[in-house]
Structure formats: C-alpha cells, structure tokens
C-alpha cells in the first residue's frame, strides 16, 4: 500500500485504481462507524457512498502534513453524518428517545445497548477511539477540536457510558 501522500497524489491525478484501493481499505470501517453514528444501516451505507463519491469528485481537502488519510476519511464521514442528522430534524429526537429497532438488534450486548443510549457525539468519540483506535491527534483532526479537548471529552464520554452501564441491569429488569 503506498503512503498517504503518494496515494493522494495519484487520486488527485484521476487514478481510479488508486481511489479504488483507498475505498476497499477504508469503506467497510467507515460504514461501520456511520452505522453506530446514524443508527441506520441504510443511512450509513448511503452516507458512506456519498462521502467517498464526493472525495473522488473533488479530491482537494486532504493535506498529508496535517494528519493521516484515514483520519481525513473519518472526519469527512463524520461531517456527512452530522449533515444527515441535521436533515432528519424532528425525526432525530424521536429516534434518540426510542432507539431504532435495527440498531438494537445489531448491537446485541449489554455494553452495546447502553452505548446506543449515549449522545451521538459521545458515541462517535468512543467508537473512533475504542474500535477504530484513532489517536488523540487523529481524533482532534476528525472532530476539529484541540487535543486537550479530546482527552476531556473522552473522559466525559466514558463516564457517561460507565454510569449508564452500571444502571443498565436495573433498567433491563424494568423493561422486562
């Protein structure tokens, strides 16, 4: 796999093979990330496609000196996801309260269930850190926040997840 700079230069020159390599390497992870963020499989697939299509059409947003190509892709996907949420408007609030059925079915574990109850921003942060293994610097680039803020927000997100996790068994019993 060529390094980010070479790959990006080839993509910039219109090398479809280079872009396809990028797509194959990152699209599955990006879609998974979007699934937990958007809590809709279909929406995640659409947003992922839109994200890559847009990058192919206008490959001019990545600067190798500022971070990795992977972080750039997740950052672009996050922005698209935020846009998708904005378009959802009132529907978003309804989903946050009830939780969409398909995500409940997919994330079949205790931590998965409580994770789905976190605000979207905290879910994004924890997912990118714990599942994708993004560094603080990459998270700072993706979320467009300072590294120090990444640390404090991650802590807040983990604390939120931990408190919901601790309360989860009780809630599960009440649901039953």
């Amino acid at each position: 796999m060529p390094d980010d700079r070479d790959l990006w230069e080839r993509i910039g020159r219109g090398d479809a093979f280079a872009f396809d390599a990028l797509y194959r390497a990152h699209a599955p992870k990006v879609e998974l990330f979007l699934r937990q963020s958007l809590r809709s499989r279909q929406a995640a697939e659409d947003v992922m496609q839109e994200t890559f299509a847009q990058i192919w059409k206008s490959p001019n947003g990545f600067e190798p000196s500022r971070g990795t190509l992977r972080a750039y892709l997740f950052g672009a996907a996050r922005k698209r996801a935020a846009e998708w949420w904005r378009k959802q408007g009132a529907a978003r609030n309804r989903e946050v309260e009830n939780g969409p059925a398909e995500s409940k079915a997919e994330i079949a574990s205790l931590v998965g269930n409580v994770f789905a109850h976190l605000p979207e921003e905290q879910r994004t942060l924890i997912w990118l850190r714990e599942v994708e293994g993004q560094s603080y610097a990459e998270l700072a680039m993706i979320l467009e926040i300072p590294v120090g803020t990444v640390r404090s927000r991650l802590f807040a997100a983990r604390e939120a997840l931990r408190s919901v996790w601790h309360a989860a068994p009780k809630a599960k019993k009440e649901d039953a």
């Binding site: 396809d20 797509y23 699209a27 998974l32 998965g112 714990e130 640390r151 802590f155």
Partner: protein, 372 residues
C-alpha cells in the same frame, strides 16, 4: 491527589497516553480509580468485540472512472483546505474590505478641503522647491510663511499668506520682491516686502498656478490639503528618522534640573552638512549651541532619539524635542548666558526666543545670517 482530579487521567491512561507522576501514584493506590480503569478497559474490550460481530460491508471494485470529477477552482480549493473557521475567514475578509475602504477615505480626505494647506513653490532659476504649510482654521501662528532664495542670478524674497477658501479653492496673499544684484542676507529681507503690494492668488488643489515676479519671471505654485499639521512645517512629507549629516529640531523643551527653561514652538532643519549644529536663543538665558562635531569649550552630551542630555555648570540638562534630532549618538554643547541676539543677527530682538539649525562654522561667526 483526589479521585476527581485523577479520574480524567484514568481515561488517558486507558488510551496509552502519558500521565503526571502524581496521578499515576494515586491510581496505583486508589481502589476506586483502579475500578474505574478496569471498567473503562472492559467497556472498550466489549465494544470492540461487539463491533467485530457486526456484519462488514462487502465492497466491490468501483467504476470510479465513470464518475464525473469536478475541476476545482482556486476558491473551492482554498475553502476546502482552509485552516481557520469559515466565519473567521469571512470576518477577516470583511475587515480587510473595511480597512481598505478606510484607506480610500483617508486618501480622499487629503484631496478635499482639510485643516491644513501645503503650498509648494518652484523657483525656475535654480530648480529649488520650497514648501509652506498653512492652517486654514484661523490659527494665525501658522497661516503664513516667508522665504528668501539667493544665487548668482540675484535674490528673491517671498511671503505667502492664507486668506480664505471657496469650496476647495484657496485664496492666498502673495508678496514677492526680486533683486538682481547680490546682497548680504539677513532678517531685514522680509522687511523689504513691507512696501510691496500683496497679490491675490487662487490655488486649486492639484492644479498648477503661475505668478509673475517683475524682472525675474514665473514661479510655479501648487497646493494640496493635509488632514494634520506636519511636524516639520517646511517638509510635510519628511520621515521621522533624520538623514545622514542632518540636524533637526521641532518644538524644543529645555529642562534644567527640575526647572523648565523654555518650551518653544516651530521647527528647523539643516541637511547635508557634516558639521550640522543647533542654536537656541532664549531671553534671559542667552544662547545654547549644540553641535554634532566637537568645538572649543564644548561639553559632550548624549543623544537618545528626541532627547539630548548634558551637564553644564554643575547642572543636568535635558533637551526634549518632538522628533529624533540627529543620527549622531553624541553632541557637543556650550552655553553663553551673556549672548545678545541683536548684536549678532541683523533685525533680531533680544526679547524674542529664536532657534535654528545651521552649519556650526556659520553659527560661530560673529555675524549670523538668518537666511543662508
């Protein structure tokens, strides 16, 4: 360290980040923090396990070459790689436009009627250009100026006075006198204009105007407005830094110990003179001579931009001026308390202060000429 202080570092530790020694020690000894660390770790592990269970998208080779690519223009390219928030960029653009608009206004202001009018006159006999600054707001101290120019061709004396304005046109009263033969110069030159009738001249800013001097020829006049009174009235466009071999002074204040000896208006300048010097006469104080080169009986003083410090007769002196005086770091000073200006300068009065920058050798002469 307490748990609430250490808890954020527990999260950082979980991510493999370095943490302060104090926090590390506390976490090592604190049950609650260790429990938190374990919980974070377990949650992360469980999340990764759940993510591994999820069905990953099968991606096929895309036919990307069929997708039309946009050719980004410089603006699109710039906006996507912009490193500052769009709002900040827009604000910056707005500020630049606002400021540049302001510059246009300031430039325009110099062209419209302002509080100061600068008259430029060109003497055709030797190409000399002189300037006269006049305040148009009724300040009588700075509403006229005079000049005397001499050469092999004879001598020309001029006096220009601001009279009024109509819209942007300025009305001047001009007196001129030409003498074909060489003659000694002095303050009485201006007095020779007393009997000369004043001619009214209208000047349009930016336009040339000619006045005719009997026996001499034409003098070219131009004028422009300024929005401030320049520090050097005869050189309104002068930079703050003195030139090489130049001594300049504006609005001098002399302090002796804690006493203000004098506080004067006006300015004077001597350029292109390797022995440029300054003479200041004040009634009751006599004369101070300050030179950029050593001379007999002079004490050394120190120059710091617009300040000159020296010691004389056991007292500390500080001469303050409105602008840097000379490039030299040292000056040489004498004080003659018995000096009578009227005995050395024709037409001068002992009860009137006077200062001028001139060549040291000329200022040391028994008879000093006012215009040289």
């Amino acid at each position: 360290m307490k748990c609430e202080d250490a808890s954020e570092f527990v999260s950082a530790l979980c991510d493999g980040e370095g943490i302060p020694k104090e926090a590390a020690e506390h976490i090592g000894e604190c049950e609650e923090c260790r429990a938190r660390l374990n919980a974070y770790s377990a949650m992360g592990t469980e999340l990764r396990r759940v993510a591994s269970l999820q069905e990953q998208t099968e991606v096929k080779a895309g036919s990307w070459e069929k997708v039309t690519r946009a050719q980004p223009n410089w603006w699109q390219k710039g906006s996507t790689t912009m490193r500052i928030p769009r709002f900040a960029f827009a604000s910056m653009l707005g500020m630049i436009l606002l400021l540049s608009g302001g510059l246009v206004l300031v430039r325009a202001r110099t062209a419209v009627a302002g509080p100061v009018f600068v008259l430029t006159y060109k003497i055709p006999a030797d190409g000399r250009v002189g300037r006269c600054t006049m305040v148009t707001g009724g300040n009588r101290k700075i509403n006229s100026c005079s000049d005397g120019v001499g050469g092999p061709w004879g001598f020309l004396t001029m006096k220009m006075r601001y009279m009024g304005k109509e819209s942007e046109r300025v009305e001047l009263g001009v007196k001129t006198r030409y003498e074909a033969q060489a003659r000694p110069l002095g303050m009485s030159n201006i007095d020779t204009l007393q009997d000369v009738p004043e001619e009214t001249v209208w000047i349009d800013p930016g336009s040339k105007q000619q006045i005719s001097v009997p026996g001499f020829g034409e003098i070219e006049l131009t004028g422009e407005y300024l929005d401030h009174i320049p520090t050097l009235l005869f050189r309104p466009n002068e930079a703050l830094d003195p030139q090489k071999d130049e001594f300049r002074i504006a609005s001098p204040v002399l302090i002796r110990g804690k006493e203000v000896v004098f506080n004067l208006d006006g300015s004077s300048i001597d350029s292109g003179d390797p022995e440029a010097a300054l003479m200041i006469y004040f009634p009751g104080e006599g004369r101070y001579l300050i030179s950029t080169v050593p001379f007999e009986a002079a004490v050394e003083g120190k120059v710091d931009l617009g300040q000159i410090k020296f010691s004389l007769e056991g007292k500390e002196y500080l001469l303050l001026t409105a602008m840097p005086t000379t490039r030299s770091e040292h000056v040489w000073v004498t004080h003659d308390p018995q000096y009578k200006l009227s005995e050395h300068m024709q037409g001068a009065h002992d009860d009137q202060p006077m200062f001028m920058a001139r060549s040291l050798s000329k200022l040391l002469q028994e008879r000093i000429r006012h215009i040289m």
